[in-house]
Amino acid sequence: MFARVKCWSDEIMNYTFQFGVLTEYGPYLAGGLWHAWWTSFPSIIITTILGVVLAAMSMSRRWFLRGASVVFVDLFRTLPVVVLLIWIHYVMPILTGISLSPTMSSIIALSLNGAALACEAFRGGLEAIPATQTQAAQSLGFSRWKVMRYITLPQAFFATLPSLTNVHITVIKNVTVTVLIAVPEVMFRAQELTVQFFRPLEFYTGAAVLYVALIWGYALLMRMLERLQKWQPI
């Protein structure tokens, strides 16, 4: 495939695309999806659980729980994932002697960042539940925990699902940043192949297609989960 591309500088660029390299090395590139999934999937689970806990803490009567939640969210929402990765993977071993694998470091960094975002999504969902429901449940003798377990959380979870899906997609997309600490996911493999065959546009396009497929598949799965909704907010 031969393309003549007009550049902003008004110069004609002759670029010979050779997507044939993807037929030969596509399987190797696609192999990176396995690592991408096993980095993002645990991160998504931890993100969700930690997000719920932080959201519950943010609505607690105890000031120190609310404070801890606010500090966590403000800190990990503002810290760039790249900085977190560098700190966890390279600085922590120097300070503590604990050295983690690139995948483990990535899971921790992505989970901390994702949990801060998920907390805000859940908090929005929890605050959307009218206070009258809580009052009604308490008047029937429900404890605060039972109100949260049976009344508030189930409704809030499904109400939050669309924005939670966005958070999860952000987590998956952030996996590409882990190329920095050499997690052998799709982007890292694209970089390796680029060094070898000098075809960055072809290999990065291939990587983009694979990530789109992964994220699109995940979004589809979440939409199916949304359809399982048993509780409609009243």
Binding site: S9, E11, N14, I94, I181, E192, L193, V195, Q196, P200
Partner: protein, 270 residues
């Protein structure tokens, strides 16, 4: 009598110094562990013809890999390769994730403030990569007002370009792919990089790119070295002994030939 006592004391002192220095010649903790466990952990970053994970065989290949396998065979120390990125090499060494960097890292005084470099086992010069249809032919053609040179940020080539090209504008980019694409898209006049990689790129894409070599007094040479933490200088002594021996045996010249690399890679500037 006094002289006899003084001589005896002096002899005793010399004997004590010799004995102490002999007992003090034990290796540091890292080298001790490497020798006792027979395992050396090495950080490497992808570099065509030097260190690459072959996607078809899942085996590492290249000049440096052959050298590492030879070190393994000669010393009986098993080498575990850890594949990382160029930006992560030094950080991983400092964090203790590997014992040594064996990726042909160029030794510069600036970098030597962070890591200890060993004896050079290879040499590279800087060259310019231009579009195949570019009118640029010489060093003088590049060093002009309006000329834009792309380099990879943090490399020896960036330092060389900023020191040498007085009139051209030097643009640092994050990686080689991006820097070469700047040239192909006409945003940069040339990409300044190492002679070996640029030659390979030009051979790979002859209709799109051309490699320009500079005269010996215009180019700048960089060496390829192993690097360790300053706390592990004894490990460097061990590795340097190997490198020196192999240089004397013509090993690196043979490797350059095997991997179809220029002979000056093994001998450096003349």
């Amino acid at each position: 009598m006094l002289r006899t006592i003084a001589n005896a004391l002096a002899s005793a002192a010399v004997a004590a110094v010799v004995a102490l220095s002999a007992s003090g010649a034990s290796a540091g903790p890292t080298l001790d562990r490497i020798i006792s466990e027979k395992k050396l952990v090495v950080g490497v970053a992808p570099w065509n013809k030097f260190v690459l994970l072959n996607p078809k065989t899942s085996q590492y290949e290249g000049l440096i890999v052959d050298d590492i396998r030879n070190l393994e065979a000669m010393t009986g120390i098993k080498v575990e390769l850890v594949n990382t990125t160029w930006s992560g090499l030094v950080a991983g060494l400092q964090a203790g994730k590997w014992d040594v960097i064996m990726s042909g890292l160029g030794a510069t005084p600036e970098r030597a403030t962070a890591v200890a470099f060993g004896e050079a086992f290879g040499y590279l010069s800087s060259t310019a990569m231009v579009r195949a249809d570019s009118p640029v032919r010489t060093f003088a053609d590049l060093d002009k007002e309006g000329s834009v040179l792309s380099v990879v940020s943090g490399t020896a080539a960036q330092q060389y370009a900023q020191r040498t090209f007085k009139k051209a504008k030097v643009t640092p980019l994050s990686d080689t792919g991006a820097a070469v694409l700047e040239v192909m898209q006409g945003r940069s006049t040339a990409y300044i990089g190492d002679s070996v990689s640029n030659e390979l790129r030009a051979q790979e894409r002859p209709t799109e790119l051309r490699n320009i070599k500079f005269a010996s007094d215009q180019t700048e040479w960089t060496s390829m070295n192993h690097a360790v933490r300053y706390a592990d200088l004894d490990l460097l002594v061990f590795l340097d002994t190997y490198v020196r021996s192999m240089k004397l045996r013509g090993w690196y010249r043979n490797l350059a030939e095997k991997w179809n690399l220029p002979p000056e890679l093994a001998v450096g500037p003349r």
